[in-house]
């Protein structure tokens, strides 16, 4: 009788521990995504200023600038899902990267203090975003592992938890800068 009771108590404790660990992992993902979001907002706030400063000079890149503005407007819409935010972030990163490369072709822009300052702020925000993204990816990996691994997978199933996406690190970011190519182009 008492042995049955002990076994029952142990099972209950194990269930409670599994439940709590899953909830804390989910909340961790949620918290870190909030930080990612803050950093992303910071970057979106820099975009109008940047577009205004460079649009006078950039004749050939008008479409690029309007695309960034459009993406920013989309990201500022209320109630967009986390997955959508992640997708938008990737597009904005690549568009901003192209603008920064284009700036190199305009000596007037490179001499413009305001543009250089903006570029500095953008770089700083990019580093913060990158750190937040890496933290998010780690939290999601821990969460996904718990959902897919035995024995917490049963509990996660019962709780209707599903795996989440991580931020993809773009190929451009992963590659080392090829200085030679930059000079040739």
């Amino acid at each position: 009788m008492s042995i049955n009771l002990i076994i029952f108590a142990l099972i209950v404790i194990a269930l409670i521990l599994m439940y709590n660990s899953l909830v804390s992992k989910k909340n961790q993902v949620h918290n870190i995504f909030a930080s990612v979001d803050t950093q992303l907002k910071k970057r979106y706030d820099l975009i109008p200023n940047l577009v205004a400063s460079v649009s006078k000079y950039m004749e050939h890149e008008k479409s690029l600038l309007s695309e960034v503005t459009k993406l920013r407007a989309e990201a500022n819409k209320p109630n967009i899902s986390d997955e959508h935010k992640i997708a938008l972030d990737a597009k904005v990163s690549s568009a901003l990267g192209s603008i920064m490369v284009a700036v190199e072709n305009y000596p007037e822009l490179k001499a413009n203090e305001n543009v250089m300052h903006l570029q500095g702020s953008l770089n700083e925000v990019e580093e913060q975003i990158s750190a937040a993204r890496r933290a998010y990816n780690q939290a999601v990996t821990d969460y996904n592992n718990a959902i897919e691994m035995f024995p917490t997978n049963f509990m996660a199933n019962a709780m209707n938890y599903t795996t989440k996406d991580v931020f993809q690190i773009s190929e451009n970011e992963r590659q080392n800068v090829n200085v030679k190519e930059l000079f040739n182009s």
Partner: protein
């Protein structure tokens, strides 16, 4: 900054005259130590047998004598090499530092303030005795850097109430300005748990370390294998430890060949390299012209002073301008 081979050339060419003279001193000191050592040993033994020839089997008196012999011996040894040590530091270590960077100052009797050591949060245990020497400080490319030899010890009381001292850290302690803004603390320690107990149990043990802040898993497998990271803020830790910095720290660890502890607190990076011996001391029983001895001085100094360049601390990117 001069590279390693240029510095070795400097040691053998420019310092050659000083080294030759020091070498003469060294030989004198060496023979004096041998003579005094033999006399001292004979004296101790004769006193021992004269006084206690009847009860010499008492282990307590044996221990007392042995203790006295080593303590007094150490004091005599220190006295004998005092002038030689001073001369060596003035004529060899000081010029080597100046050659590496003329903006650096060197004080052989001073050491890094204990405040830095405490604030670094690298070592948690209380420090009851703190000493050091060979203090170097100054600016390299507008980056303030300080380092010195440090010996930090803790007092332990045994069951009989007797004090004994254990070393918490002995080696080089470096503090330098760091080029990013941050407000929390991030501590990077050698990964002993994971390498001893494997990933699963070691990782679990690390996460349960109550004396440290939250464990942060880094997304750099080689770095994660060598080090364990604890930080007050997950995101800030990753902001500081970018992929390129992790790569550089790994490289630095491999070059230093000794356990490396790092922390980012306040506005600074702190590095504690565990040598477990007093560095920059003159060699007494081996020639100063010996390549291995020379390389030890040259390499260690090059490693410390080169840290600004190696970790690119002087590239104040965007946040601090």
């Amino acid at each position: 900054m001069k590279n390693l081979s240029e510095l070795t050339d400097f040691y053998y060419k420019v310092l050659f005259v000083s080294l030759k003279r020091l070498e003469k001193d060294r030989k004198q000191v060496q023979s004096r130590i041998i003579v005094v050592g033999v006399l001292f040993t004979l004296l101790t033994l004769s006193i021992y047998f004269f006084l206690f020839s009847t009860i010499y089997s008492d282990p307590n008196i044996m221990i007392f004598f042995a203790f006295g012999y080593f303590t007094l011996g150490a004091i005599i040894y220190k006295m004998l090499i005092k002038d030689y040590t001073k001369e060596f530091k003035e004529k060899v270590i000081h010029p080597l530092i100046k050659e590496l960077d003329s903006n650096l100052n060197y004080e052989s009797n001073q050491h890094l303030s204990q405040k830095y050591f405490r604030d670094s949060k690298i070592f948690n245990s209380t420090i009851d005795r703190y000493s050091g020497n060979d203090f170097v400080h100054g600016e390299i490319d507008d980056i303030h850097i300080e380092f010195s030899d440090i010996h930090a010890e803790k007092r332990n009381k045994n069951s009989k109430g007797k004090d004994s001292w254990s070393t918490v850290f002995q080696g080089l302690f470096i503090v330098a300005d760091f080029h990013k803004h941050f407000s929390g603390s991030t501590v990077v320690l050698p990964d002993s748990a994971q390498s001893t107990f494997g990933d699963l149990i070691g990782g679990w043990l690390q996460s349960k370390n109550a004396s440290r802040e939250a464990l942060v898993k880094m997304d750099h497998p080689e770095f994660e294998k060598e080090f364990v990271v604890y930080a007050s803020d997950q995101i800030e830790a990753r902001y500081i430890l970018s992929h390129s910095l992790m790569q550089k720290l790994l490289h630095f660890k491999i070059r230093s060949k000794h356990p490396l502890h790092i922390s980012f607190v306040g506005q600074s990076i702190h590095l504690a390299i565990e040598y477990n011996k007093d560095l920059f001391e003159p060699s007494v029983f081996r020639s100063l012209l010996d390549y291995k001895i020379a390389m030890e001085y040259v390499q260690t100094l090059h490693l410390c002073i080169g840290i600004v360049e190696e970790l690119k601390l002087n590239q104040k990117l965007w946040s601090k301008q």
